[in-house]
């Protein structure tokens, strides 16, 4: 579904952050992305959620070579990707409901469709009673669940999460990871970047390990579930 071949990435004229990264993600797979700080995890995630194009190498998303994809085609590809940011990146002036509804509204869903989906999803993440609360009044765990709900409201083909448990307590980490596993079970390809080895071991999914911009595949040679 997604293939990276000899991908290199540098910002401007700086040193290469990623070097010769090659892997593929099969549909419905679950991967952890691990590595020390500065290894290039965030850069790789940015490539995965189409925030940047690589400096070199081949990237194939859903059967399309990214090098040949026009800028105007990117929104449609991006709607197939859900993103959970470490710092949530919720809109502070919007309510929980409005934040989660954004991807559907971008897609052009009607008000009724949005209401049905958002209420159902907020109930799934346990936030049905916080629907009209603004992010400033939510706890870290609640914000992260809002971010997850926003990421999955469009039923994405690929879910990318950057340290989703970084700002929550261990109990909440476990609950959040449970949500990701549930999503993966219904066919969403999932990549979770984390420093939390306990979670990695508990889930037991394949690992993409980055070190100094280079990818190691310790669990198996070719990433895939």
């Amino acid at each position: 579904m997604i293939t990276f071949e000899n991908v290199g990435m540098r910002y401007g004229m700086g040193a290469e952050i990623l070097q010769d990264v090659s892997f593929s993600l099969e549909k419905g797979s679950f991967h952890f992305l691990v590595g020390p700080s500065g290894a290039g995890k965030t850069t790789l995630l940015k490539l995965l959620y189409l925030a940047h194009r690589p400096s070199r190498g081949l990237v194939n998303f859903f059967g399309k070579d990214l090098a040949t994809v026009d800028r105007t085609e990117l929104p449609r590809l991006r709607r197939r990707i859900g993103i959970v940011f470490q710092d949530f990146r919720l809109f502070d002036h919007l309510t929980t409901f409005e934040n989660v509804a954004l991807p559907l509204r971008i897609k052009g869903a009607t008000k009724n469709q949005v209401a049905d989906h958002v209420e159902e999803l907020l109930s799934w993440v346990g936030l049905e009673d916080r629907m009209h609360a603004k992010p400033a009044t939510l706890s870290g765990g609640e914000k992260q669940r809002v971010a997850i709900a926003r990421a999955v409201i469009n039923k994405p083909d690929l879910l990318v999460a950057d340290e989703p448990t970084g700002n929550v307590d261990p109990e909440m980490s476990e609950r959040l990871m449970h949500l990701f596993v549930e999503l993966n079970k219904i066919g969403t390809t999932t990549v979770v970047a984390t420093h939390d080895n306990t979670l990695v071991e508990a889930i037991g999914a394949p690992i993409l390990s980055l070190d100094k911009g280079q990818l190691k595949l310790p669990n198996n040679d070719k990433a895939g579930h």
């Binding site: 189409l50 991006r78 993103i83 809109f91 002036h93 971008i106």
Partner: protein, 292 residues
């Protein structure tokens, strides 16, 4: 949030809060310049129509008997000329009144060789060849000279044209300044909301969704500023024209804006809103093109 436009930008007052005021000041200046240009245009039209429908014939002959004879001959010719509504010889007292500012109050029998004057009123649409009429008059009365006020009128028209050109330049400069201010404001807005725009892009929002959000914001700024500027300019014009009305129908009042016919002012806030919205749209669209 639930309007036709996906408004993801916060409504909180930010650095753009001053923008409607700046647009208001620009529109105030613009309105005054346009009103002045219109008023001068109508004033000049009124002067020229008044002056072109009247001409004067002077009979400049030193000998009084010959002057009287030539005056009567010229009057007969003028009365027989098509396109002339009336031709009247000015009484000596009226002629002396005309020269009194320079010569003082002189008695009628002072013995000065003052020319006889014939005041002629033309038909409004009369197309009389003044030069040909002058030649015919001189053939009848050798001392006849036509004054059609063209020299004075052309100087006034030149002055009015120059003022209108200056006012037009002022309007253009104000429009360009407004565009520049909106561009700067828009860029500041893009920088302020860069994070929100990036998230919207990453969620799959097309450029037009983001542009619409800015359109709506700048439409409001333009309308607010436009209404503010036009209200201030309207008050200024009303005060000025009230003073002009007190002055009566003189030279000064004819170039001041009138209270009537200023309905076009109501269109200016819409024009300001259109200008700011289009400028914002182009600025945001261009900036988004540089993003992935």
């Amino acid at each position: 949030m639930w309007g036709r436009t996906l408004q993801f930008l916060p409504n909180a007052k930010d650095r753009e809060g001053l923008l409607p005021w700046v647009i208001g000041v620009m529109l105030f200046l613009c309105t005054l310049a346009v009103a002045s240009a219109f008023a001068i245009n109508s004033g000049v039209a009124r002067w020229s129509s008044g002056l072109t429908s009247n001409i004067t014939v002077q009979i400049i002959v030193a000998d009084e008997a010959a002057r009287t004879q030539q005056t009567e001959a010229a009057l007969r010719l003028l009365e027989a000329t098509p396109g002339i509504v009336s031709a009247e010889i000015l009484a000596s007292s009226e002629v002396m009144a005309l020269v009194s500012p320079w010569l003082g109050d002189l008695p009628l029998d002072a013995g000065l060789p003052v020319p006889n004057l014939i005041d002629i009123t033309l038909e409004p649409e009369a197309n009389i060849n003044i030069q040909a009429l002058g030649e015919r008059l001189r053939a009848t009365a050798a001392g006849a000279v036509i004054d059609d006020h063209q020299a004075w009128l052309s100087q006034i028209l030149d002055l009015a044209t120059m003022i209108q050109v200056i006012m037009t330049a002022v309007v253009f400069m104000v429009i360009l300044s407004t565009i520049a201010i909106v561009i700067f404001g828009c860029r500041a807005g893009l920088a302020t909301h860069a994070d929100s725009i990036e998230i919207m892009h990453l969620m799959g929002a097309e450029d037009r969704v983001i542009c619409h959000a800015f359109d709506l914001k700048y439409l409001k700024h333009g309308l607010k500023g436009g209404i503010l500027g036009v209200v201030l300019a309207g008050i200024t014009l009303w005060l000025t024209s009230s003073i002009a009305t007190d002055l009566g129908e003189g030279l000064v009042s004819s170039v001041l804006p009138s209270n009537n016919g200023n309905v076009w002012l109501l269109l200016l806030p819409l024009a300001a809103a259109g200008l700011t919205t289009i400028t914002a749209r182009l600025t945001v669209h261009r900036a988004l093109q540089d993003m992935m």
